[in-house]
């Protein structure tokens, strides 16, 4: 069956390449639509954002006889203009792995036994009601916006706890704290248009060619059109990005803070920073004193003068930075001089290299700082761009606030005013939303894996759309101990068996991607929408429905929290005639568009922090819109590309030029932070002499649960490996494909070595991708995290490499 479909698939995915060849252009983006199906063909094309990464490419999905049979890049999408990466071309096949979960399964006497949905929903409801304060939701940046909103409302308005977190904690939260500390409000001021306009692109530990390939295509494609763009790759290992860079600067792991401070030092020293911009729009900041030994100082810091700032960066001379980072002093000077030039546009990019960092907030802040100081901010091409890894890390986790400290629309649990606002929107009694911040991802799983009588107060976790059994750092300690703890209960909603379902007590089969309605929000604040196109297999059902059905069941069983203050159910949904639609019953879930109802309810929150979203129907028409989307006098809706810049952002007062209207210092100014370089918590030593860095590969997305089931991608990248430097390998006598043990203080795994392969680490460093569930590198990684963002550092820990036998 699969082969027949695949053949149709291959034929119908009229790949952009053909058009490029036909048009005779070197540009990957000079393409025409290849939608040349014969008239009367049953093939139906509809738009959807790609299921995989945070770039937010749009694809056209071709369906025939209830199956997805074709995919092509969407010409109308501004993000990708018809191009896709290798994963995107195969995204449709992610639905058709042979082992889709199709029925609820409950662990009975150690075995997973099929049960009915009624029993499953009741089991979850009763389990939560038995101990609501021991229940935590754990979701992801792949939750659609309405799914995340339903889960967030269920926990914060329904249960009155804040025990919900999501995997963007492992992925984006240092970017969030960086934006909050600098601008007072989350998410990038710039957009992808900056990629098309910049003269210099700086990759800060960012392998864009593999992780955001379509964006990198968009950048290097400019060269084929005769434009000049200088790419500077700052990296710890040679990657595919380095191959196309003009300058490759290798730095020692953790050396990024020194480099960024070195640039600030040079600007201050030479007095060539943008005085006017700084005087009008910026304040200087540093961390305050530590409240006590164990507590980190407040994230919002204390003011400092320019003179104090200058003194603080004084030690970061190019020579000192060379010592700390390994980058030659002359290259630091080159960077400094680029930032001092006013005639060029500079776009910095980063992703996990900055965010998965025990000093993640600090490095995010410093790079925003050097962009502000140099005035390379807020003009097309002048931007500091943080890229996300998941399709809706921004749209769902950050904007809907499915994290333990947030409420929808960028409101904060810690702020009593914000809680009051949210209680008003949700029409729940005052005080329903708890002021107590919940547990962040690592803490949540630590507690879930600690005996209940020893402080492990999380007893039930419901995981949706993610795979913590593979991604939580230090898995032995933080995930696998649950197995021996009889009173812990793990509920997992997923589409395939994973490293997480392996330990689940209840598995709920989910619908995925175009098997349901959905909305995502990508890295450039673009909110996207799609409709359900095919039915999910077997008894698989929408994640949002699962949450809603459990909520209704709890209300039936007498839980008063699931009602608002007028006694109405939290997810009460009525048709146009005002008659209630029983959306908790699956057969009625699609009687109306629940996504639309949830989104329009959530939209109200988006106003408070000027993250305005348009009504649902606007997103139906568009290939995504970038917020704030503000209604014009003529009734149309206009998206905003450059936030805080008067020429584009409608919220900036006339004549201001720039206005940081959520400023931390309450004076419309952004903050330029001083944060010192400090050593990481674990560094190589005699016993564990190598730095271990983990990451992704082009062919697989995250834990590979989808992409490893796509034959083409699996064949192209079948298993994990350990990349080693040639000199190190020669010293140890290791050859490519020889299986070696990678061992840390926390765990070990065996991996084949790859020397001189796709990436090439510097001596003393090794790299292992994390997609392979047969080779769980997170058994080895360290669970230390940034004190502000609580994001773990997957990029740096000490390991040793041992030859087998």
């Amino acid at each position: 069956m699969l082969t027949v479909d695949r053949r149709t698939f291959v034929k119908a995915s009229a790949m952009a390449a053909a058009a490029a060849a036909a048009s005779g252009s070197n540009s990957a983006f000079a393409l025409t639509v290849l939608n040349n199906q014969p008239e009367g063909s049953p093939l139906k094309w509809q738009k959807a954002p790609c299921r995989f990464c945070g770039t937010g490419c749009h694809v056209m999905v071709g369906t025939e006889n209830g199956r997805v049979v074709a995919i092509q890049g969407d010409q109308k999408a501004e993000v990708n203009k018809g191009l896709l990466c290798v994963k995107g071309y195969h995204v449709g096949l992610a639905l058709y792995g042979k082992d889709r979960l199709t029925t609820p399964l409950l662990r009975k006497d150690g075995k997973m036994v099929p049960i009915s949905w009624d029993e499953a929903i009741e089991t979850v409801a009763k389990r939560i009601m038995a101990n609501p304060k021991g229940f935590s939701f754990y979701g992801s940046g792949q939750w659609t916006i309405p799914e995340g909103y339903a889960a967030n409302k269920f926990v914060k308005a329904g249960l009155g706890t804040n025990l919900i977190d999501a995997n963007p904690r492992l992925c984006m939260s240092s970017a969030v704290t960086g934006f909050l500390s600098t601008f007072g409000v989350d998410e990038p001021p710039g957009v992808y248009d900056d990629i098309d306009k910049c003269d210099v692109a700086i990759m800060w530990g960012n392998n864009m060619a593999e992780m955001h390939p379509v964006l990198f295509s968009r950048l290097v494609d400019r060269r084929s059109r005769g434009e000049t763009v200088t790419i500077i790759d700052m990296t710890t290992r040679r990657t595919r990005t380095s191959d196309l860079a003009d300058h490759v600067l290798y730095f020692k792991p953790h050396g990024d803070l020194a480099i960024a401070n070195g640039i600030a030092h040079l600007m201050v020293k030479s007095d060539k920073y943008d005085r006017e911009f700084v005087a009008k729009h910026c304040n200087f900041r540093k961390l305050g004193p530590k409240p006590d030994e164990k507590t980190a100082p407040d994230m919002l810091g204390v003011p400092m003068t320019f003179e104090e700032f200058a003194a603080a960066v004084e030690p970061y001379t190019p020579e000192r930075v060379e010592e700390l980072s390994g980058v030659p002093a002359e290259k630091i000077r080159m960077l400094g001089e680029l930032f001092m030039r006013r005639d060029i546009r500079i776009n910095s990019f980063w992703c996990m290299g900055f965010n998965q960092h025990t000093r993640g907030t600090a490095i995010n802040c410093i790079v925003h700082g050097i962009h502000l100081m140099s005035g390379h901010f807020g003009k097309p091409g002048d931007a500091a761009t943080s890229l996300t890894g998941q399709p809706s890390a921004c749209g769902t986790a950050r904007e809907v606030g499915t994290l333990c400290h947030l409420l929808p629309g960028g409101l904060a649990i810690a702020n009593p005013e914000h809680r009051k606002l949210a209680e008003g929107h949700w029409n729940v009694p005052e005080g329903r939303i708890s002021s107590k911040i919940g547990y962040h991802a690592v803490e949540l799983f630590k507690r879930f894996n600690t005996p209940t009588d020893q402080g492990g107060d999380v007893t039930t976790v419901w995981v949706q759309v993610t795979n913590p059994g593979q991604t939580i750092p230090n898995l032995h300690r933080n995930f696998r101990q649950k197995k021996d703890l009889a009173d812990k209960f793990l509920i997992v909603s997923d589409v395939y068996p994973t490293a997480t379902t392996e330990l689940a007590d209840l598995i709920l089969p989910s619908a995925m991607w175009v098997e349901k309605n959905g909305m995502y929000g990508n890295s450039e604040r673009r909110t996207q929408q799609w409709f359900k196109m095919v039915e999910p297999p077997g008894d698989a059902r929408d994640d949002a429905w699962q949450t809603i059905a459990v909520s209704h069941k709890m209300m039936e069983l007498g839980d008063s929290g699931m009602k608002d203050k007028d006694g109405k159910w939290l997810f009460h949904t009525a048709d146009q005639a005002g008659k209630e639609v029983p959306i908790w019953e699956w057969q009625h879930y699609y009687d109306l568009n629940v996504d639309e109802r949830l989104f329009n309810e959530y939209r109200v929150f988006s106003r408070h922090k000027h993250k305005d979203l348009a009504p649902y129907e606007e997103y139906v028409k568009a290939r995504g819109l970038r917020w704030p989307v503000v209604q014009q006098p003529d009734g149309s809706w206009r998206e905003t590309r450059w936030r805080f810049s008067e020429f584009d952002d409608p919220y900036v007062a006339k004549g201001k030029g720039f206005q940081f209207y959520h400023s931390v210092s309450k004076d419309d100014k952004a903050l330029i932070w001083f944060r010192p370089h400090e050593n990481p918590p674990e560094m190589p030593d005699a016993e564990f002499p190598f730095w271990l860095c983990t990451g992704r590969v082009l062919e697989h997305w995250h834990t590979g649960t989808m992409t490893r089931r796509i034959p083409q991608l699996h064949r192209a990248m079948p298993k994990a490996y350990v990349e080693m430097n040639r000199e190190d390998a020669a010293k140890l006598g290791i050859r490519t494909n020889e299986v070696v043990t990678v061992k840390s203080r926390r765990g070990e795994i065996d991996l084949p070595a790859w020397i001189g392969g796709r990436g090439d680490p510097k001596p003393g460093e090794v790299f292992v991708p994390f997609f392979d569930e047969g080779k769980l590198i997170n058994l080895v990684t360290l669970d230390e995290y940034d004190p502000y963002s609580k994001q773990p550092d997957y990029k740096k820990c000490a390991v040793t490499i041992v030859r087998k036998g």
Partner: protein
């Protein structure tokens, strides 16, 4: 791109496109012929009405067969091979299979089926070691064919990123990557097919053509 409903990827890999390519754009054929010997193509239609193979003994329009490494010329191979299956069982990756019935007189002889597995170019060539009649011979070049990147189907050539073929190629220097775009050096490529088997492009971007005119070894010729 032109789609022929009668052609599948399997056909493509087994060379069924070969004839069609001749009729297609002249430029690509020239380059193709430079890479592959044109012996099979140049074969004129037989005038005596008898079936005739590329090597002169078989039938009309016969295709070159993708033989395991070290295979001697086709005539010697067909007469010498005892169909003992030793090479088939020696192959560690199962790349060698029996030629199916449609290969007529060659049916049952060993061939590489890229649809099953590519030859991985074992350093110790267990297939050659296992061949008792010596039609797989260590004295022969280990060239089975030649691969060709169809740039219009290749992701890297289309402006996306992909480097899988060059990374996984077992023959050093056979795939050059310039500005991220692969091309195959026909003189170095052995036609093992690893690149084609790992190519993740929606339409496989690599065609592997079996070699049509393998040299005969002097040892074999003398024994005849």
């Amino acid at each position: 791109m032109p789609e022929d409903p009668n052609l599948s990827r399997r056909d493509l890999l087994r060379g069924r496109l070969f004839g069609r390519l001749v009729q297609s754009a002249a430029k690509s054929v020239q380059r193709f012929e430079a890479a592959v010997s044109s012996a099979a193509l140049a074969q004129e239609s037989p005038t005596d009405g008898k079936p005739r193979s590329a090597t002169g003994v078989g039938r009309r329009f016969a295709l070159p067969i993708h033989r395991p490494p070290g295979a001697v010329d086709e005539v010697t191979f067909l007469t010498g091979c005892t169909r003992c299956n030793e090479c088939i069982s020696a192959c560690p990756v199962g790349a060698i299979v029996h030629a199916p019935a449609r290969f007529r007189e060659a049916a049952g002889t060993p061939m590489i089926d890229l649809h099953t597995s590519a030859c991985v170019m074992c350093e110790d060539t267990p297939c050659i070691a296992a061949c008792k009649p010596g039609v797989l011979s260590a004295d022969q070049p280990r060239k089975m064919g030649v691969a060709w990147v169809q740039t219009m189907a290749c992701l890297a050539h289309a402006g996306s990123f992909c480097t899988v073929c060059s990374e996984r190629c077992p023959v050093p220097g056979a795939i050059d990557v310039v500005a991220g775009r692969p091309s195959i050096r026909a003189d170095v490529c052995t036609g093992c097919g690893v690149c084609a088997s790992v190519c993740p492009a929606p339409t496989n971007a690599i065609v592997v053509m079996p070699l049509a005119d393998r040299p005969a070894t002097s040892a074999m010729q003398e024994s005849q």
